[in-house]
Symmetry: C2
Subunit: 388 residues, 2 copies
């Protein structure tokens, strides 16, 4: 009996054996030539994964919230106006972070939880005021709502705002083309679709973002996040020169470089396509089982993540049954509906078998919880797409 | 032929096989019961390693500089006066960080590089002004100078200052007794004597520090470092309850808990004694080889680290020869003398064989560089103490 459970939460996700092996390698010096080469490669590969040929990558020890903090602290000066496209819990966190560094923030909210604000509402607000910066949460990890990053970025740029995309639950899973779409800064965390254990904040800042940073009149409010400290370090590692500000998280960066290599070997287009197909299969299973989702319509649904409501008569104790059936899922996170839904992450190294295993465990849990459905209906719906 | 080199720099250090195995384990959920237990244990053990029964531990993804940032951002409000006991590069970094959050900083400097300011000079300055906070760098990683933390803390407390100890190159190697000595906040980074790969900032804040935080009139300037976000999380994990603010660095925390367990199994007193003995052996070897050190006198010398000057006629290229002989050492870091000395870390899991291997490689490198000495003199001096 294997007792290890499949981890299908929105991060940390399942990592490849090669990535885990890199994590457990004897640590070398942060200025050893072989590590400098690895860090340099990771920076170059990060740019490729973000589809940003012109961006400046930053790899810093910390969580995804640090990546948000890095974006806000370096781009915002007291008194700046910021617009937050608010799709849930993590958009609201961005509001709090931007305000911490002195921004005046206007959130444009969705009419209901599970929806996103319309392009018209966002444009109306952009027209009203001179916004220096606009943030978009690509996939809100709390609701599985996906924002239309391409259209929103075009809008933000039209009105001269720097566009910051929180891609924590998205980058390397959802389609995102930083250069082509004109995104000024995109960020993520290592433990999501980018496939490395938690502990790294990842940021790629485009030329307009770096220019806004260079033109600052006030010091960056946050010392650890300050690009003044990190930019020379990132430039040095990419030029394969030793350098020091804070000790980099050697093992995590080694693992990140392995994962980025695997991502680029698959190819970004193939990776986007695989995520789309596996997502379609999982969503079909959820619908076949009669479960509703938090996103109000299919064009609001994320590709990396699904947030189904519990069906009538079933509550969060079903997650324990699903866990006993071998799959770890996540509970709700959005305060307004926390106890009414659960979350399933399907990103990164996720495979067709993972999808079937997960649907199988959900069916088992629901059946044990007394929910009435045709056993196998979810699996059949998923399989129809997986074999299509 | 084993081609792996021994890593004897002041962090990252050599980690035990058990710690590295924990790093490479399949990652679980940050709210899985087995991880909650591990995180809770790590918090409890951190308190024991800091010899602080009353302190509040914080474990946050980031580098040692983040730990300094956490201390400064949470304790300092704009206009506060801070005294920095300045023993080198990292004391100066603390000055920069404190200033970033609005403190007016007075550094009390050593007369020369390699010395520490006298207790009299520090007391004279404490008398002059009402200092809210005083920082001491236990071991300055740039110079291997150790400050007299016990006496300095007593002084700071006498004049009502909160005493913050930067123990990055010290905690779990140098003797430090947080409660007994009255230290209000001590901090370190995972990759030093605490024996875990880089990527975790570790802080233990005593009751007076927590009270100063609770009485703040202004918000903490740094969002990611803000205890308002982290305190409920640390309390929850220690109470073995699931909680979420930012995703913890699961693998690193698992590895940290293994290392803390090994440290406590050795026992703090035995650990201090082992560090003292291995340090004496290494210092004896360095003296026997005729090398001078950056610290101006033996009572300024760290236990965890040695900073020898290159002898006449030898320059930093000798480090490459020592590396070829199998041991990785670090170059100089203090700007004033950067090219004139090197650094050897001997802390954490370091053993007598590591000391002999290192002395052997240094002898080999020096001989190849044309330096005249009696081969084996360093080894004999070390061995006399190791077998004593």
């Amino acid at each position: 009996m294997k007792d290890r459970k499949l981890l299908m939460i929105p991060g940390p996700i399942e990592f490849t054996p090669e990535v885990l092996r890199a994590m457990g390698m004897p640590t070398t010096s942060h200025v050893a030539p072989n590590f400098i080469e690895v860090f340099g490669q990771a920076l170059e590969r990060l740019r490729q994964v973000f589809l940003s040929s012109s961006g400046q990558p930053f790899i810093v020890a910390g969580s995804g919230t640090l990546a948000m903090d890095i974006a806000a602290a370096n781009l915002v000066e007291p008194g700046d106006k910021a617009l937050v496209v608010d799709t849930g819990y993590f958009s609201e966190r961005f509001t709090a972070i931007l305000e911490r560094y002195g921004a005046t923030v206007t959130p444009v909210r969705a009419p209901v939880v599970g929806d996103a604000p319309s392009l018209e509402d966002v444009e109306a607000e952009l027209k009203k005021d001179g916004y220096k910066l606009m943030t978009v949460t690509h996939v809100d990890t709390s609701t599985a709502v996906r924002a239309d990053v391409k259209a929103l970025t075009a809008l933000g740029r039209k009105y001269g705002a720097l566009v910051v995309v929180d891609g924590v639950c998205a980058v390397a899973g959802e389609e995102m083309r930083q250069d082509e779409w004109g995104i000024d800064l995109a960020l993520t965390a290592s433990q999501k679709a980018i496939g490395t254990p938690p502990g790294l904040a990842l940021v790629v800042a485009g030329p307009r973002a770096m220019e806004a940073f260079r033109k600052r009149k006030t010091p960056v409010g946050n010392y650890y996040a300050d690009w003044t400290n990190w930019l020379p370090i990132m430039e040095a590692y990419e030029a394969r020169r030793p350098s020091y500000f804070g000790t980099p998280a050697v093992n995590l960066i080694w693992a990140l470089n392995v994962s980025l290599g695997q991502i680029l070997e698959e190819g970004m287009e193939a990776r986007f396509a695989r995520h789309r197909k596996l997502n379609e299969a999982f969503k079909a299973a959820i619908r076949a089982l009669g479960l509703k989702q938090v996103p109000v319509s299919s064009d609001r649904e994320a590709t990396t993540l699904t947030a189904p409501y519990y069906p009538d008569g079933v509550d969060s104790t079903v997650l324990k049954r699903i866990n006993e059936a071998g799959v770890i899922l996540a509970g709700g996170l959005h305060p307004a509906i926390k106890d009414r839904y659960f979350r399933v992450g399907h990103m990164g190294a996720v495979s067709a078998s993972d999808i079937l295993t997960t649907v199988g465990a959900i069916e088992k849990g629901l059946a044990q919880a007394g929910y009435k459905f045709e056993p196998g209906a979810g699996l059949a719906a998923a399989q129809a797409i997986l074999t299509g």
